[in-house]
Symmetry: C2
Subunit: 148 residues, 2 copies
DNA sequence: TTCTTAAAAGATAATAGTTATTATTTATTA
DNA sequence: TAATAAATAATAACTATTATCTTTTAAGAA
């Protein structure tokens, strides 16, 4: 996991370079995404910030997440059930392991992937630009709680 | 690719076993999905069947795709842009290569994946149930047409 | 073949997540 | 401190999918 403070500084610098305003709401959203351990959803970011900003609007969260996505500073993970989760800490494609019971998302180390990309490019003739690798299953905690 | 006729027969048999009616619309949807070379969307299935069934309803396509999905006879591929495509020919998880220009979807042969699943299970403690592997890029045809 | 009926189709309303719009507020710079 | 371009807040609009309800039909029985 990248240092959250470094990621936060990088994102703020991106805003500054593009002469975008550093509003408190915007910075707070950036901070949550830079931490981003739990891969939060827009709704979760919104709920968390309502405590600090009483007038916080859901649209503001959507707007800024969209913006950061367009900068390549946030990775969007959309799931078959329609839900979207975000990673501002590691905004480049990487594999995820998702618990279908509790929704937890874990980043496994899987170095073998680079080789796969080359293999696929060779086999299909595609120029591969990005990828998405997700494993779905049940985390250790949920496996244990099921046994009770 | 599995034999489309076999896949069609399997799906029809599934309907029969569950005492579900074999309506012409239902059978036509099943046939398109059993072929399913191009990984059609609901909209594409609907457009194609309107030619044969003048009163065809979009809801009927959704209803039957949902049904087949619940039987495990169709694999749903949902994409970040919100689009959904379906594979009734190989309804089990397998990797895809998607062209971001023309939307073509190709199934590469990638035997290395089984090992990855075991690796991930070992590393994370998850019980892995399914997965999703997508490579995004530009197909050979679109690479060539760009050069013009 | 005709009759019965449970299920499916068709048409459309409802839903949910996201994006667009507009008036108000605010960060930034001079 | 004032000017203003941009962001926020509130809400309307949009889109893909699902639910509802009425009409039609497949399938088994008489």
């Amino acid at each position: 996991m990248a240092n959250p403070q470094d990621r936060y500084a990088i994102i703020v610098e991106k805003f500054r370079k593009k002469s975008l305003k550093l509003t408190p709401q915007r910075l707070a959203i950036a901070k949550i995404l830079a931490l981003s351990k739990g891969h939060p959803s827009v709704e979760e970011i919104f709920e968390q910030l309502k405590k600090t900003f009483s007038t916080m609007s859901l649209a503001t969260v959507y707007r800024n997440v969209l913006l950061l996505k367009s900068f390549g500073e946030v990775l969007e993970l959309s799931f078959p059930d329609g839900s979207n989760r975000y990673d501002g800490n590691r905004p480049y494609p990487h594999p995820h392991v998702i618990c279908i019971k509790c929704g937890a998302i874990v980043d496994p180390a899987l170095d073998a992937l680079k080789d796969l990309t080359h293999l696929v490019a060779k086999e299909t003739g595609f120029q591969i630009l990005t990828h998405r690798f997700d494993f779905f299953g049940i985390c250790r905690r949920c496996q244990n709680s099921d046994k009770k």
